[in-house]
């Protein structure tokens, strides 16, 4: 680990606070990550010094804002290793990006009988937009199952059976927000290509958490949320292969996305402008680019190793030291997400009690109700680690869960 890691907790001012009389242990990173001071500064500096609308003005501030906004696009292209900045569309987040593809690409390209392939571990945001698309077009949904048991791994032995030539798009989650599984994205994309299906990767939990390169992965679309990688809320990225973006109709109409407008007809600007109608989220885009610098200074390989190590320690210690716990997900090669079920204690009660000890967890179905049903659970509790978490915080987690388990066994 390089020097950038040295004072890492000091980079995140929010971590330094007491919650219910205890130092905060923030373990809800899969929901949203905290923001380093440099990202907060990028936001406030933009509003203090450079704020103006982009693409429209010729005055100095507008030019400054425009060049920072477009520099962020270049930064994002580099971050994902896209072939060119024009392959990056700024969105409101992963959900927004998936809806863009399901609408702009889906409505134009799907017909009755076509198949949309998903996996059983998708977040609702990579399920519901496709359900709506299927309803609009008459296309059908199909799911690649997960194996039985608690590992939550995809059942790749079923891949050939479900990935048939009638599949037009295969949309799958890269890293599971529920079970911490890391899916073999490159392998899945290659298999899809073989049958002529496009791929959309939900990279909400992977971008900024592990090395990610869209060209090595071989995906056609990839959706990202800025707020899950040290960036602000309300901003995200959609990567799309340029040829696909060029062929797609617009998603939303309005200013900035046109080349000429008449009263009855308009012509579209080329991608990416075609997909960015209206005044974009300029400040957050610029701050998101700063978050990418921050993450690359730490090194994404190092971040992935850090998260995996914490998850492995947590997995082993919870299993060994907390009575009545069932830890879900694979034991190895996983992300920083660790979900568990505490026997006889509902996830809500776990989270409420942990909060009283200053430990922030999440409890519920984690936006995957069908997966919960499959695991025979109505909800789980989840601890999710990120780059600023420490092994000392796992001590606090273990002690808290022991206390909760004892309280309810009473």
């Amino acid at each position: 680990m390089n020097a950038a890691w040295k004072n890492i907790r000091a980079d995140f001012p929010i971590l330094d606070q007491q919650v219910n009389g205890h130092p905060l242990v923030y373990l809800d990173n899969a929901a949203t990550t905290q923001k380093p001071q440099c990202v907060i500064d990028a936001l406030t500096n933009y509003y203090r010094k450079d704020n103006a609308n982009v693409h429209r003005g010729i005055h100095t501030l507008s030019m400054r804002a425009t060049s920072a906004y477009e520099a962020a696009r270049e930064r994002a292209a580099k971050f994902l290793n896209a072939a060119e900045p024009g392959e990056i569309i700024f969105t409101a987040g992963t959900t927004d990006g998936i809806n863009l593809v399901a609408n702009a690409w889906g409505d134009e390209n799907l017909k009755p009988g076509d198949v949309i392939l998903l996996t059983e571990m998708e977040h609702h945001s990579n399920m519901v937009p496709w359900q709506l698309l299927a309803r609009r077009t008459g296309a059908k949904l199909r799911y690649l199952p997960i194996v039985a048991g608690d590992t939550g791994l995809l059942d790749l032995t079923q891949l050939d059976k479900v990935l048939t030539p009638d599949v037009k798009i295969f949309a799958f989650i890269h890293v599971s927000n529920t079970l911490g599984v890391i899916n073999p994205a490159a392998e899945l994309c290659a298999a899809a290509k073989k049958v002529g299906a496009l791929t959309l990767v939900d990279a909400a939990q992977s971008t900024g958490h592990l090395p990610l390169d869209v060209r090595t992965m071989g995906c056609d679309f990839l959706a990202v949320s800025g707020h899950k990688m040290c960036g602000p809320t309300g901003v995200g990225l959609l990567y799309g292969r340029k040829a696909l973006l060029d062929a797609m109709p617009p998603y939303r109409g309005g200013g900035s996305m046109i080349s000429s407008v008449e009263y009855f007809e308009s012509k579209w600007a080329p991608a990416p402008a075609k997909f960015e109608a209206g005044t974009p989220n300029i400040a957050d885009v610029i701050a998101l680019a700063r978050a990418m610098d921050y993450l690359d200074d730490l090194g994404r390989e190092a971040i992935a190793q850090h998260d995996e190590k914490l998850a492995a320690v947590a997995y082993a210690r919870l299993q060994a030291e907390v009575p009545g716990i069932r830890v879900l997900g694979p034991a190895h090669h996983r992300s920083g997400v660790v979900s568990f079920d505490l026997k006889g204690v509902h996830a809500h009660d776990v989270v409420t009690m942990a909060d009283q000890e200053g430990v922030a967890l999440r409890g519920g179905h984690h936006c995957n109700q069908p997966l919960m049903k499959k695991l025979g659970l109505s909800s789980t509790s989840r601890a999710s680690f990120y780059l600023y978490n420490t092994e000392a915080e796992i001590d606090r987690l273990v002690a808290t869960l022991q206390k909760i388990s004892k309280f309810f066994a009473g």
Partner: protein, 151 residues
């Protein structure tokens, strides 16, 4: 854990561990269900209505300690009551879980729910089963969900 023993009073823990009237009621002529889509909680309440009197009731479902205990306490407290009486009791419970203050008369074991008001995120858990029961008794067949502005 001072605040927590407020929330998880021994009455609550007891009703969570051994929920009363926790079964399907074969004689029920009304069924109500309550869902909390935010957390996956699901309660089904069975009501045997005779005229406007709740002759018997029971429940089943999955939920946190608060929703389970509150629904269990409800079955004990509403048995034999008229719909109007049941509504009055619920009004007291609602006041209790939102403000922590007890309505004028003695609420007996229901007073154990007072701690809920300190945990605003949990108020919906405490009211879920009550909505389901009252809707069933009043003949509103719609499943209740916590995402309606009903509480």
């Amino acid at each position: 854990m001072q605040d927590l023993t407020d929330l998880y009073q021994s009455v609550i823990l007891d009703h969570n561990r051994r929920p009363r009237n926790y079964s399907v009621l074969p004689t029920a002529n009304r069924v109500g269900s309550g869902n909390n889509p935010m957390c996956g909680d699901q309660m089904t309440v069975y009501v045997k209505l005779e005229g406007d009197r709740i002759a018997d009731l029971s429940f089943q479902g999955s939920g946190c300690a608060i929703s389970k205990a509150s629904t269990s306490l409800m079955t004990v407290n509403l048995k034999g009551k008229t719909i109007a009486e049941a509504e009055a009791i619920y009004a007291g419970v609602h006041k209790l879980v939102t403000t922590g203050t007890v309505a004028e008369d003695d609420m007996s074991d229901l007073a154990a729910l007072a701690g809920v008001h300190q945990f605003p995120a949990r108020i919906k858990c405490a009211t879920l089963g009550w909505h389901a029961a009252l809707n069933a008794a009043k003949g509103d067949a719609q499943p209740v969900t916590t995402e309606k502005p009903s509480d």
